[in-house]
Amino acid sequence: MIQWFELVVFGVLFGVVSVMGFLASRWRRAESLEHLDEWGLGGRKFGAWITWFLIGGDIYTAYTFVAVPALLFGAGALGFYALPYTVVLYPIVFLPVLRLWSVSRVHGYVTPADFVRGRYGSPLLALLVAITGLVATMPYIALQLVGMEAVLRTMGLNATGVAGHLPLLIAFVILAVYTYQSGLRAPALIAFVKDILIYIVILVAVIYLPAKLGGWSAVFGAASDKLSQPNPVTGRPQGSILLTANNQLQYITLALGSALALFLYPHSLTGVLASRGRNVLKRNMMALPAYSLLLGLLALLGYVAIAAGAKPITNNATGRPDTNTIIPVLFDQQFNSLFAGIAFAAIGIGALVPAAIMSIAAANLWTRNIYKEYLKRDATPAQEAKQAKLASLVVKFGAILFIIAVDPQFSIDLQLIGGVIILQTLPAVAIALYTRWLHRWALVAGWAVGMGYGLYLLYLIPNPAAGRAHFGGSALALDKLTLLGWHPFGGSQVQIYVGFVALVVNLVVAVVLTPVLRARRVSEGVDTTSPLDYHADEESDLRPTDTPAAEGVATR
């Protein structure tokens, strides 16, 4: 049944942000948007507030809003890893992100692969980083669609087949067109609306709903009861509200691995590089945890949904119950139509902001590190911008095709893999910010081994509850950990995050090979950055500060 009133509220708010998206091209108007620094980084002049909303919109996406509570709903305490992940995130990235901003500002880098190219003089390593970024970002965009579709289906737009995807298609065509026109300015402006709506919805939900359902102790009691019931397929408890002996290591490594991975995603760096200066970023690293509180509270809504007896909706396109609908269903049940409509719009718009930033980041990668590097070396800034705009369209329609043509579960699996593979760029990007000790060919080898081993371990993981033998999740029982046939932890059921294991292997390979390559005098490549580049700031106008000059450096 279609919830007309909710749909109208949703439609009105969606319409408002669409208009804002189109008008955004006039906001802080540049002489021309026909330049990648303007279209793809908003002119690199966003202040503290805009950066806060932009990076916030990047990290805390629609998918987070539906998937994290769904994880607590289904598995319990493990899903709460999202909170420690976003708490340790800022202490980890606080210093490296500043160095990356400075060096990118001095040299006009737009993507992490640009930096790797400049630091190691290795087109191959840069290409590997760029491709890893593209492959990891694509399913992430598709997941934003999954989040949005969960909302649309809850509102009753739950048709079968391709028609069921039509509302999503319309929403994304609008998004694609205004991102094409306005570039990064569009999501930056819309992020304001998104966050204000999200804050209102979450605050109301976490205060009103537990009170209505008998307080937090009743909520946790209901959750504990439901999670301790055995899963019909495996016969073991579905989860628990505390960690078990077997999933503590998974909790720690997943939180840590996710935090290390986040700022390696090209779209997070887009938000960082678009800011005006180091102080803007420093203040943001202090203020962004405000979202962490929100995310933690939101996660607990998964338990609230259990207490309220919410049941996931069956997705008519796949015929299976979709746990990602659990939060929309909870809102639909517990709120009146007006507020439910606002809540759905918050989630829906929450999908638009990151989808736009991600597609811009992917477009920047394509343009700078593949098109310009391999296809058209003498591309002018205007040609670069044009290419990026077209690429952003291709990326978005690719994501839609993904949702329509394949099972959404496949996107979720791919995103999981994405987290594991993006971590493999950590040595080449993050460690390179501090030291150039690792040899470029050792980095290439570490990347290849870490990537292959990570994918192999993911392949080994079954998911008995979903009836799958491979790619069943990212939690690997140590028992299955194998090194060329040797099982160092045979018999142990303790779980660990695959990305973490693969990263350790990657680092070991890179560290071991570096002295070997150096002893054989294999070329180190030219480092075009100098130590002081990593400390440059907006006020130190000793280096090219305006975009045309920065362009000159980058083309060298």
Partner: protein, 98 residues
């Protein structure tokens, strides 16, 4: 904070400050055996959950203190003479290298 001349740490111009160690404080929340408990509860919420919420301000404070205490370290602040000189030298060297 006295820092090495750029020649010494040519690897990346690191500027170390003991205050940076504060950034390790929030990682205590990852020692799950310490926090994985039901009691004591706060507003009906098990310890495991509310203690992690309590770490959010700890993280904010750690970053804030490091920010405030290391603010004048960079070549950023106008008027910090030696740093600006150093940056000039660095600029000359950098463009020669290119």
């Amino acid at each position: 904070m006295s820092e090495p001349k750029s020649g010494v740490d040519a690897g990346g111009g690191l500027r170390l400050s003991p205050w940076n160690l504060l950034l390790l404080l929030p990682f205590l929340m990852l020692i799950t055996p310490w926090i994985n408990a039901d009691e004591p509860r706060l507003f009906g919420m098990p310890f495991f959950y509310w203690i992690q919420f309590a770490f959010v301000p700890v993280g904010v404070l750690a970053v804030a203190v490091v920010y405030l205490k290391t603010r004048d370290d960079g070549p950023v602040a106008p008027g910090v003479a030696p740093d600006v000189d150093e940056l000039d030298e660095g600029t000359a060297g950098g463009s020669l290298a290119r």
